[in-house]
């Protein structure tokens, strides 16, 4: 099972868990419709597009409504702490949640005692909490953008709003330097996919690949296009690819989908997501060892 957890901006939505189905601008979890916009829903939707193409079991989602007061976030953490050992997912991805260092620590403790430890992936504020609590190394994959990479490299910051000014001023070309600092400070997951003008894939502190083409600058402005990368990398890891392969393919697929959507800064993320099946059909076989019948050839 791939379990994707995070809050959604639906006021009053109770803790909801179930297999995900898609419906254009919405995802459906246990019969409840959630708009496919920036955040957890975009991440889940991208993962679903990937499992659908690969013929894998669809993701299980654990979502709750939260518009910033934190109740939904805490409900998600508490549910995971109680049930993760029983659920035994192969991949666990944590996404938009109020960063809570104490609950993150409890969850990591429980995961550490699981018979089958999941592949642990974090993005958004779940990644902030993991870093701030000194638990980054418990995670297999983080997917920061350039500013979040600077946050990981700043030993004192507990949120990107508090990173040192000189780190905010850096550009993406300094990523290897920031990665080295974050690794030295034990603030990095085993694998980092740093999203930016050039995407960097870093394994155990070493840059193992970069992706810079196609160049679609508008993607940075579109809310949710970083979230889709997290969903893609989760799904490809679930499919059995090595984390660095999953990350490289996720970075490529997101860019090509943006290009296919003819993305402008006004494009909506679901318009990018709906390109993924065609992108996979055309490119996935060439990018990976995954070649499906009728799924495109090198």
């Amino acid at each position: 099972m791939m379990l994707l957890a995070g809050t959604v901006p639906v006021e009053g939505l109770p803790l909801t868990c179930g297999a995900v189905t898609a419906g254009g601008e919405f995802i459906v979890v246990d019969g409840r419709r959630v708009p496919c916009t920036q955040g957890t829903a975009a991440m889940i939707s991208a993962a679903l597009a990937t499992t659908g193409y690969l013929g894998l079991e669809p993701p299980q989602a654990l979502v709750a409504g939260d518009t910033g007061r934190g109740e939904g976030s805490r409900a998600i953490y508490k549910n995971l702490i109680e049930n993760i050992a029983r659920l035994a997912p192969r991949v666990l991805t944590l996404h938009y949640c109020m960063p809570d260092m104490s609950l993150t620590r409890k969850l990591c403790d429980v995961v550490g005692k699981c018979d089958h430890r999941p592949i642990m992936i974090a993005d958004a504020a779940s990644m902030y909490a993991a870093k701030a609590a000194g638990l980054a190394e418990v995670f297999d994959i983080f997917t920061p953008d350039a500013t979040e990479m600077a946050f990981l490299a700043d030993p004192e910051a507990i949120h990107p709003a508090y990173i040192a000014r000189h780190l905010f001023d850096t550009d993406i070309s300094r990523t290897p330097e920031l990665v080295a600092t974050a690794c030295r400070n034990r603030s990095a997951a085993r694998l980092l996919l740093v999203k930016g003008e050039t995407d960097y894939v870093v394994s155990a502190g070493r840059v193992v690949g970069t992706v810079a083409e196609p160049d679609v600058p508008a993607l940075e402005a579109i809310g949710g296009t970083g979230d889709t990368i997290t969903g893609l990398v989760s799904a490809f890891a679930y499919a059995g690819l090595e984390p660095h392969e999953a990350a490289l393919i996720a970075a490529r697929a997101n860019r090509v989908a943006g290009q296919a959507a003819q993305a402008t800064p006004g494009t909506r993320v679901w318009q990018v997501i709906e390109q993924f099946p065609a992108v996979f059909r055309e490119h996935l076989c060439r990018w990976s060892r995954i070649c499906l019948a009728g799924g495109g050839t090198p």
Binding site: P9, G68, E148, D154, Y162, G266
Partner: protein
Amino acid sequence: MTFLKRKKPVLEGGGVVLFREVQEALKAEKVVKEAGYGVKLIAPPPELRKGCDLALEVNLVEKPGIQRALDAKDVGYVGVVPLKVGASELLDIVKVTDFGEWVMVKAANMKLTFEKRSGTIVNTSGGGCPDIPHLHAQMIDRKLTDVARPRDIGFTLCALMLDRALEEGLELWQGGPQS
């Protein structure tokens, strides 16, 4: 005979509310608790002390919501700052990217993009706190001048940074339609 005491839950919020008066700290604890936030009375680190030996440990990420709760009840406080001595100040610089018909303003991890001609917000991106997707839905397709300020309706540092981006966007827009 040895008694094992159950440990009280540790907050680990990374932020501290500083006060000049003990009474204000005690009142603030009640107000912040009632507003639904985690809170713990602590002695502030000597380097941060502002005249009062009591302070509140809070989740720094929830700074805007906590400040709003305190202001609503007229509780006097000196500031909400990182608990770690030596941490940086809140970022106050922004970066602007010109996309031709659109301008993107970035403050820390938050980005806001508007159409130059109309001043309409076409996207917000970045961040990771739970109020950000909600603010995204509230802001897009609306004019810069017509949206509620994220600092007033959001709860987190991500919302505060989105507010910074909006503020800069407003300045650019009110400086005249962008060429």
